[in-house]
Amino acid sequence: MARQVIYDAIIVGSGATGGWAAKELTQKGLKVAVLEAGRKLDPLKDYTEHTWPYELKFRGFGDQTDMQRTQPIQSKCYACNEYGRQFFVNDLENPYTTPPDKPFYWIRSRQVGGRSIPWGRQTYRLSNYDFKAATHDGYGDDWPISYEEIAPYYDKVEEFIGISGSYENLPQLPDSRFLPPMSFTCGEVVLKKAVDKMGDPHRRVIIGRCAILTKPIHQGTPDARAACHWCGHCDRGCTTRSYYSSPASTLPAAARTGRMTLIPHAVVSNIIVDKQTGKAKGVHYVDAVTRNHREVFGKVVVLCAGTLESTRIMLNSTSTLYPNGIANSSGVLGHYLMDHVGGGGASGSLPMLDAKHLEQDGRANGIYIPRFRNLTTKHGRFIRGYGFQGGAGQPLWEHAKGIAGFGSALKKAVREYHPWGIGLGGFGECLARFENHVSLDKDVVDAWGIPVLHIEMTFGDNEREMVRDMGETAAEMLEAAGAKDIQVSYGPTSTPGILIHEVGTARMGNDPKKSVLNRFNQSHDVKNLFVTDGACYVSSGNQNPTLTMMAITARACDYIAEEYRAGRL
């Protein structure tokens, strides 16, 4: 009989945060098992960033019939198309439920690397306007940590994964440790100059900050990665490892320690609890291929399965000790679900720019306008704020639809005319509300027999007003830039979930009666259980969340290693 292995730590999930937990804990000497629900990808077969439309059966448009049959929700994501649908789940095998009139789009990846394969790579720090938002405007709760406490971990993550961007010294958007920034396009320079002249000191057009390498990093070390070669389709994978994904960066670093065991196809259903101590002693999972129920044991459990999946696992971990799910003595587990709100923005054309010369370099980035509302003044209609993401560029061929003619003259016109367009889309903070929540739906199961989540979330008046303001300010900036044919959207709001920034449901806090996790992402109730993904968020901020999740994970892992060595877990 094989001797049972008991790991120092079990990490559930191998995406952005799981990769960081694996790297940090193994490098600190812990022996870990990383459980991943999906398969291992083969970049040379699965990544398609260099695939041409003519190499695909449906020329990049995808088999819509099959996508509607198997991925009706996933196909709403920008990256779930004929090039990249292999990175997303089958919705009927991985279902969830909602009220019939309250859609929530849960975009999910199950593979080694998780959503770090097709993610957008936009990386922005939160500031104390976010961590201490309640102190600033009186709504909700502050995070139990401050910017100053997490800043060293932002540094650590950024230095390892590589973030390109420009130093701006903005209090609402602290600078990262940057690689050289990418360049603006001509159209973006026009916008930037116009916005600078508008006289609002907080309103700034900056280049997007993203986890894409503008120069090689860690040269001469095993962590070396090549600079971006500007093929321009990062959401389809990156065979040169020039953007951050866990299989390209943190997981290899963890593997090199010899202390990581990666278990793919492990669909975790629940945490196993020691009835004597009440502590977690392992996890139960179903092998996605063989359908075998299996168990793996460890002294610490770290959930990095993604905001909603981690909470699902905890809600499904019921026992006589924890009848409402593990780590849920507060009754807060599953509550305060948030996603950024979109739906407001504007687009137009820039006829003053030369349309004859095509300026394109496959830049894998856009522009960013950081939050400028409710910083030093108060907006009358809503609290918190939003940022804009967007860009200006020229079409390669799409404009052909608007050009009259046929034959060689048409082709010539299409080749010689590339009109400039510009667009801004808002990403706004969603207020944390108890009633936006997930619970376990015991009537519906996934393909492995595990109860699914029932998700109930709607945006409120604050988000609706914010979206309206997005339209107004975006139009105002485009008008200032001299844009023409401006189209504006003042709403309605985006469907919750579709911006793929879902956070909350296992919030951090100092009060065990009002929160699930303490300031080190440790369960108040079960001291050897940690949750370090987006579930821990207290408020959503308006910045893309993955960088913060990684920094929080690195911070929590420092604490885990220290407590583990001291025998306190």
Partner: protein, 257 residues
């Protein structure tokens, strides 16, 4: 120079794959800790509904098996909607009467591609088109909501004009379509209680068995009507509305092929 390029061409894939496989090699060392504690039976089958019939395929090990479930009757039992129909396996003519309870739904927009035969625009669509032509307001929140993400993460900013909120692009097609229609029951999950004979033929199947289904997207007007009627019943608790919706649902089922 040519030799150096050749070396690079050969070395690059090796370097790439070795770096990635490094993270994966440890997976081969199967742990002795993950002890097997049983095998999960078949709990879920999935299909697509056209008209009143759900068809699909499921796998038991290496074996793939087709099934169909034709809904013939709807009932309200203790406030829950039950659907009864004929279940058949493997294209067989033999049918078993099976009843299922609606266990849950996943809300989504209604079919973004209604009948391909219907070229005529609805009044609502015409109104929307006119509104957009007049100027500034568009009604494509999802497209706009993801405009920033598109610009940032599809890397097409330098290759394409960032799409206008109302403009349909390769990436925004499904989002665009979504804003055109109303929210409804995108996927429906039924809990089926199977007769013993059927269970025996399906082998190692859980009780109850879950049937999940979506609407077939094209040319499926009757399927859409049935789906809408089911969804209406789930959206209300009011007895009067439920009774009239139930009548309507049964009428649709009875008049379907």
């Amino acid at each position: 120079m040519r030799n150096r390029k050749m070396v690079l061409l050969i070395a690059l894939p090796i370097l790439i794959s070795s770096a990635v496989s490094l993270a994966q090699t440890s997976a081969k060392k199967k742990t002795a800790a993950d002890a097997s504690v049983g095998i999960e039976p078949l709990r879920v089958i999935n299909g697509e509904m056209r008209g009143r019939t759900v068809t699909g395929q499921f796998r038991q090990g290496a074996r793939a098996m087709d099934f169909s479930f034709t809904i013939t009757k709807a009932d309200l039992v203790n406030g829950r909607l039950h659907l009864t129909g004929d279940f058949s396996l493997g294209g067989s003519q033999a049918r078993e009467k099976v009843t299922g309870t609606i266990a849950g739904v996943m809300a989504n927009v209604a079919n973004p591609w209604p009948s391909a035969r219907e070229a005529k625009k609805s009044k609502e669509e015409e109104k929307r088109a006119a509104e957009q032509q007049q100027g500034r307001e568009t009604k494509k929140p999802e497209a706009t909501g993801q405009l920033g993400q598109l610009a940032q993460s599809t890397q097409d900013t330098a290759r394409k004009t960032p799409p206008a909120p109302g403009e349909k692009t390769e990436q925004t097609q499904s989002l665009y379509a979504q804003a055109e229609a109303n929210t409804g029951c995108g996927a429906i999950f039924l809990r089926l209680t199977l007769p013993e004979r059927l269970r025996a033929r399906m082998e190692r199947v859980a009780e109850p068995l879950q049937l999940g289904f979506v609407l077939k997207p094209f040319d499926n007007e009757r399927g859409e009507e049935i789906n809408r009627a089911i969804c209406r019943m789930l959206q209300t608790r009011e007895a009067g509305i439920q009774a009239s919706s139930l009548n309507e649902l049964n009428r649709l089922l009875a008049s379907s092929n």
